[in-house]
């Protein structure tokens, strides 16, 4: 999950900006640290060679330099930030080979549901994508806020109930990656890690066809069961009954997921997540 080992163009650009920014700042930070340590050491009271200049308390030239150095650095970095924000807007398209794959991600308590509306399938806690294709994500949440993040593919984005956020990514190399939720969402939060399988574009249709044969069906009823609080240890896959399921969730036609079941009225309710374990 190393951020400096990107597996797609978005992550590569993000981490380039990250590293470049660090180096731009190191150029002034390192000499400053040395100056601090150097001045502190040289002007120690016990050093007879250091000249005591109690009246050196103002110098227009020094003032100009000390305002100019951070200002120039910030102008440079500000440029990086401005250009970077626009080029790497999560909603901006990321061209790829072949036809884009639409994926609708829903954060549930505490698992990820990935709906492939065009392929009419859905998976939980596993995201399978073809290498090289543009991945158009639409994201929402069934209940509380979460953040969708695959570190090696780049740019994370919030999921919020009743709202849809957009994210475009591309995975360049086949392999297995990991994704997670990067916004605390309750007791089952650490179990919201999911597998990302990047497979060859040729194998993708086969995987879709195999998944579509699944006995389990995702419709409003089974979704309502899925959105109960709990941890999903398996990796269920579904045939998608209604390709508009995501819209029903996002526009709250299906109401937000319930919280913990109250066992007693006392101050410390037992959460569903704990019971599920």
């Amino acid at each position: 999950m190393n951020l400096l080992d990107p597996q797609g163009p978005v992550a590569a650009a993000n981490s380039t900006i990250l590293v470049d920014s660090v180096f731009i700042m190191l150029v002034i930070v390192v000499p400053t640290i040395f100056a601090i340590l150097g001045f502190a050491f040289w002007f120690r009271a016990s050093n007879p060679k250091a000249r005591y200049q109690p009246d050196f308390v103002y110098s227009g030239r020094v003032e100009m330099v000390v305002w100019a150095i951070p200002a120039l650095t910030v102008i440079l970095l500000g440029g990086v930030a401005w250009i970077g924000s626009h080029q790497l807007d999560p909603a901006a398209p990321v061209p790829g080979t072949g036809s884009p794959v639409r994926i609708q991600a829903v954060s549930l308590d505490w698992k990820w549901l990935f709906i492939y509306p065009d392929q009419r399938i859905a998976t939980v806690n596993t995201l399978t994508v073809p290498a090289g294709a543009e991945l158009n994500f639409q994201l929402t949440s069934s209940s509380v806020m979460n953040t969708f993040f695959i570190p090696q593919l780049g740019s994370m984005i919030y999921t919020m109930n009743g709202m849809v956020t957009k994210l475009n990514l591309r995975a360049d190399n086949e392999g297995k990656l990991k994704g997670l939720s990067a916004h605390f969402s309750g007791d089952g939060f650490p179990d919201m890690m999911f597998d990302v399988n990047v497979i060859s574009p040729l194998a993708f249709p086969d995987w879709v066809a195999a998944t579509a044969k699944s006995d389990a069906v995702l419709n409003e009823d089974s979704y309502r069961k899925l959105m109960q609080q709990g941890i999903e240890k398996g990796k269920p896959a579904y045939r998608l009954e209604d390709p508009r399921l995501f819209d029903l969730i996002a526009n709250q036609h299906i109401p937000p997921g319930p919280g913990p079941e109250l066992i007693s009225d006392a101050g410390r309710p037992h959460s569903g997540g704990h019971d599920a374990r």
């Binding site: 993000n14 660090v22 050196f56 110098s59 305002w67 970095l77 605390f184």
Partner: protein
């Protein structure tokens, strides 16, 4: 009768909080028994609890912060151990407990450690530096302190009665809404902060008024010590920002108590609004904390370099620039919400702009050291340690302000390492520097240097051993608030961080030992002159500890570094020998208003948390009645006769004369 409260609120099935709570309870009872048996209670009541003396209140704030630092630190130790062991396992803390711990850690460290520590130092020192006898509203000052203590008490009560929030220290909805957090945890969180928030707001109003209105003769704005400037900036931010926090939490509470829909998923609630509002307070908050620390470093670096602060006017400008800009950057806390590139870029650049005045400050401290004659006493060590540490935190902070980089690092362990880097390396180092620097002023004896230096080195090294691994874990994709994880690459770094935590703990122990050793050796460490560090500002012009009236005569200020100036002139004129005419001094009477008010506020807060409505009314009426009684008071001042002032002042004057005549080399 008791609302939601019943026996199931006591966590009999969880040994850790129960034992911790029992130990604390026994400790409190032991101390109380000792106080009563030894007959210290009347002294404590009349000299401390009801005191409206800004110095005493400052000391009590710092005491509260120190005790809470131990509580918040225990939470930190538990979290580090949990993350070190919870690889492919549940560790030793179940999620509902771990989640309370990190929420409590953040809440306590910000609201009940950092805030009272800096407010305490400002309270203690600012009136002295301004050359005045008290703050603008002495009784209100006491109310502010005791309300803060109420908040701290309620948070700690949640350890054994009920639960604390499991939502993180900012309680983001919808997780913090009734449907997802039905317990009393969020209520404990919100009511504690509402009550202590009132305390902070009145402290802010008080200090702003003090700086603006109560300066001694000749102390115009551009002669104020830097710490007064940063106090002004910080408290202006408190006055502007804390009402936002109060309003935001009030809305959350309306959602939870009366079925409103400000931030719920349903009925048009908007969680993004909470994000905006809480950070509109939250970002200024970090500058509320760090600006006073900047002030402390300015005082310390200047004093121990034996030089006036380099570029004083530049520093003033930088301080006020930070004060203003800090209100315009809140959105950088949620670049990843999908706001769009223009908004993100503008807020990113605004955030970077704060780095300019901050950088200027670092350079000005650097040039204050240049040409100085630097004495490496403990406060100076903390200051140099701060400069080096803070620069690293500044670098990672500016990095996080670059939106595309933030898209990778938001909410990660890298972020956790960053804000600990600036809050420990900036605020806490500053608080410690101020503590070591002004301790002799408050208590009349210096702190042991050997233990102080050991404490610094362990804390400094411990900080890097703890937080560099967290930076690395963040670069490896690790997000914050994980109760357990299965990623092998994160494990070693979590173990190193736990070791670092152990080193940090040794640092804290050294600090405790330092205080104990210093109290035992207090005669040897006695500061008779009131000026142990060869200081430059007016707090050193009076005795240590200062008399209740601070100054027998309001000092006459003729330039920057007022006391340094006086010392220089006194040497030339071999000190004015003329006997000054002492006069009666009027001082505010002590008042139990603050304590009684907070007592009722505690009852009301507890009752609100547990829905015990009759008790809410009782507490509310009690607090209101206290206020009415205070408002109808007849005598709020007493007179210290001139002879008494003269007697107290002459002792100090003799000691000081010896010092000035000895210091021929200044």
């Amino acid at each position: 009768m008791l609302g939601k409260l019943d026996w199931s609120a006591i966590p009999f099935d969880q040994p850790i909080p129960l034992i911790a709570g029992a130990v604390v309870l026994v400790a409190i009872l032991a101390v109380l028994t000792w106080v009563v048996v030894k007959g210290h209670l009347p002294y404590l009541w009349s000299e401390w609890i009801t005191s409206v003396d800004h110095k005493r209140i400052g000391v009590m704030y710092i005491l509260l912060a120190s005790v809470m630092l131990l509580r918040g630190g225990s939470d930190a130790i538990m979290m580090r151990i949990q993350q070190a062991v919870a690889y492919q396992s549940q560790g030793y803390l179940p999620p509902e407990h771990y989640n309370q711990i990190f929420s409590a850690h953040g809440t306590i460290m910000i609201f009940f450690v950092a805030m009272p520590f800096v407010i305490g130092l400002m309270n203690l020192i600012v009136p002295l530096q301004l050359g005045v006898r008290d703050v603008a509203f002495p009784t209100l000052n006491s109310v502010g302190f005791w309300l803060t203590a109420t908040g701290a008490l309620l948070v700690n009560l949640s350890l054994v009665v009920g639960e604390f929030a499991r939502t993180g220290w900012l309680a983001f909805p919808p997780l913090s809404e009734l449907s997802y957090s039905p317990g009393v945890g969020v209520d404990y969180y919100a009511w504690s902060l509402q009550i202590s928030g009132v305390g902070t707001l009145v402290a802010g109003i008080n200090l702003v008024t003090t700086v603006l209105k109560l300066r001694t003769k000749g102390m115009n704005y551009l002669r104020m010590p830097m710490f007064c400037w940063t106090t002004l900036a910080s408290n202006l931010l408190i006055v502007a920002a804390f009402p936002i926090l109060t309003a935001t939490l009030a809305m959350l509470l309306l959602d939870r108590y009366l079925g409103f829909h400000f931030f719920t998923n349903e009925a048009g609630g908007n969680v993004m609004m909470f994000m905006n509002l809480i950070w509109a307070w939250g970002h200024p908050e970090v500058y509320i904390l760090v600006l006073p620390a900047f002030g402390i470093f300015s005082e310390v670096v200047s004093t121990f370099s034996g030089k006036a602060l380099f570029g004083y006017r530049s520093m003033v400008l930088a301080t006020m620039a930070i004060c203003v800009i800090s209100f315009m950057v809140w959105l950088h806390h949620f670049f990843t919400m999908g706001a769009g590139p223009d908004v993100n870029a503008i807020f990113g650049i605004a955030s970077m702009i704060i780095a300019i005045p901050t950088g200027v400050k670092i350079y000005n401290w650097l040039f204050t050291m240049y040409g100085g004659r630097i004495r490496f006493a403990t406060p100076m060590l903390w200051s140099v340690g701060f400069m080096v540490t803070f620069i690293v935190g500044g670098l990672t902070g500016v990095l996080l302000a670059v939106p595309p980089a933030d898209f990778m690092l938001h909410n990660s362990m890298f972020l956790v390492a960053h804000f600990h880097n600036v809050i420990i390396g900036g605020v806490l180092f500053g608080a410690f520097a101020g503590f070591e620097y002004w301790f002799p002023k408050a208590f009349g004896f210096r702190l042991d240097e050997r233990w102080g230096k050991l404490a610094f080195w362990f804390t400094f090294l411990g900080f890097f051993i703890t937080f560099v691994p967290l930076y690395i874990a963040g670069m490896l994709g690790m997000t914050r608030r994980m109760q357990h994880y299965d990623v092998a690459a994160w494990r070693p770094w979590m173990i190193v961080a736990a070791i670092g935590m152990a080193v940090l703990t040794i640092g804290v122990i050294c600090q405790i030992v330092q205080i104990v050793v210093s109290i035992r050796n207090r005669e040897a460490l006695r500061d008779r002159t009131g000026d142990p560090w060869d200081g430059r500002s007016l707090e050193w012009a009076t005795s240590s500890p200062p008399p209740v009236f601070n100054f027998a005569f309001n000092p006459d200020v003729r330039g920057e570094d007022a006391y340094w100036d006086m010392k220089a002139r006194a040497q030339q004129q071999s000190l004015e020998r003329d006997r000054p005419e002492y006069q009666d001094i009027e001082m505010p009477r002590n008042s139990p208003t603050g304590f009684v008010c907070a007592f009722f506020a505690t009852i009301m807060g507890f009752a609100l948390i547990w829905h015990i409505w009759w008790m809410v009314i009782l507490g509310g009426l009690g607090a209101w009645a206290t206020f009415v009684v205070f408002a109808w008071r007849d005598h709020d001042e007493y007179v210290i006769p001139a002879e008494e002032v003269a007697a107290i002042d002459r002792v100090n004057l003799e000691e000081r004369r010896d010092l000035v005549s000895m210091a021929g080399t200044v």
